[in-house]
Symmetry: C2
Subunit: 81 residues, 2 copies
């Protein structure tokens, strides 16, 4: 199983990296952009066969280590293979 | 439109952050993990109505600024709203 975890700064939390990329894209001529938010993308390969136990494990990994819930939102999905 | 861009280190490229998280998860008792890769997740809000032009724009943003193709792979999707 492969877990794909998407973490991004919470709405309202300052995202300086996103602001910098917004500025750079604007200067490159991309004028139609409204907002840029930059977060983390984590892939974890899991040696388990049971999707629901994989789901529970990844939730626990996010809760205990991967995500700072004060400032970050996250979603994840488990895919086969 | 909202562009969701997923960037990760290419296969074979050293990922020290991923190695560190792998170690930390192992020490926390998650023994069933095989590999951890850490990349970037970027959300860009686009003020355009045409999905295919949004697609072309985001491809160009990745090519010119967002992705270092020597060491990173990327995929993206465009969602409505």
């Amino acid at each position: 199983m492969l877990a794909k975890i998407f973490i991004k700064p919470k709405k309202g939390i300052l995202d300086p990296q996103g602001k910098a990329v917004f500025g750079a894209l604007s200067r490159l001529g991309f004028s139609q952009i409204g907002d840029v938010r930059i977060g983390k993308y984590i892939e974890i390969r899991l040696n388990v066969n049971d999707k629901s136990s994989a789901h529970a494990d990844v939730q626990k990994m996010c809760d205990t280590l991967l995500v700072n819930k004060l400032i970050e939102d996250f979603t994840f999905e488990i895919v086969e293979g």
